[in-house]
Symmetry: C2
Subunit: 220 residues, 2 copies
């Protein structure tokens, strides 16, 4: 494991700093808890208090944050509002991101109408489907385009994120098309382990796998 | 961190063995990769080959599996079919589980019609909604019941798993009702961090948080 004393200053370029993916994945959770604390009017928070809320040790929290610089004051804890702002900047959450969605079946329609994206800065600005009967129709105010439009639309609309809501059999081809179009991050709802080049990030929404790790505890 | 030399024999009772949650969460991934290998006709697999497929070190794989007993033969690797069967038994995936779903809006309808659950042994046998206008209607062959039926239905139909697809504002109350009814595992699609007692497991499907950890890498 890495040394506990590593303190670095974050310079804005992820390539220059070897932050483990698991640490990056925890940061949004910190942002959420800190945002709640801020809206409750909390000024300062200790790593002990954060640890209580996140079910993590204070040492782990201090170590995670140390990858990005020195945030807290010894014995005083963290300034909540300042830490939220800094973490949001580090994660790129101080701006908005354009996303597109591929697959306008029942799941795709549920996703595009999900009210949780926009308030967090994620705008679904384009929708695609392979079904010619759907192309040209409107779903929640977004016109459905044909898959052949992916390349053009992604560059035209400055889209960085692709959401995949197609059947498993179609998923890899759709993901390849998104990667070819220049998409850098993919949220995949199809139940497949898809392949992407190293420079593209992919996260799978996989409800079956979530259920499969809980049954272990149900067995008793 | 735990010692690397811990070898225990799995006795079927999760309470008797201190297996870290993160290890349990990786087992379904092992099952999926091994199942694919088995259907490709692969007899034996080394921890190196598994590591290549899972982007993990062979040592990590051997350590994960060592929590549950001795599976591999030194120098020969693992018998694929036998290891799948053993891991499925450990995870409780050698049987089927009854689930219910609360919330029959667009998302709930997408979930109940998702074809990925049944082949893996998860049967959604009951659906609930707070809207009296939906109660009594059929969605994909499942009759929608009122929330007041949760308690009765869960015990009557032997339901262990609850899937929550209600708006954020309703989620905690629904989760409390499921816990009161005796549900042991909850798959929560509502964008809230819900509270459950220690004996209940909960997993959140949280697309925003998945997006928020990927934007870190998009920033360059």
């Amino acid at each position: 494991m890495a040394t506990g004393s590593l303190i670095t200053t974050y310079d804005g370029d992820p390539d220059n700093l070897d932050v483990p993916d698991v640490v990056v994945e925890r940061l949004p959770l910190y942002v959420r808890v800190l945002t709640n604390l801020a809206s409750d009017g909390t000024d300062m928070v200790s790593s002990e208090q954060l640890g209580d809320q996140l079910h993590m040790t204070p040492a782990q929290i201090r170590k995670d944050l140390s990858y990005f610089g020195r945030f807290g004051k010894q014995g005083r804890g963290y300034n909540v509002v300042a830490l939220v702002a800094q973490l949001k900047g580090i994660l790129g959450l101080d701006r908005s991101w354009n996303a597109c969605i591929v697959g306008m079946g029942r799941l795709g329609r549920a996703i595009i109408s999900y009210p949780g994206f926009a308030p967090e800065g994620f705008k679904i600005v384009a929708a695609f489907d392979a079904d010619d009967g759907l192309v040209g129709t409107n779903v929640d105010g977004t016109r459905v385009r044909s898959l052949s439009q992916i390349n053009h639309t992604v560059s035209e609309d400055g889209i960085s994120i692709g959401i995949v809501a197609v059947p498993a059999s179609a998923a890899q081809a759709v993901i390849d098309a998104l990667v070819d179009a220049g998409i850098g991050a993919i949220l995949n709802y199809a139940p497949v382990t898809a392949h992407v080049p190293d420079h593209v990030k992919i996260k799978n929404i996989d409800p079956v796998m979530s259920l499969q790790s809980m049954t272990y505890y149900l067995k008793r």
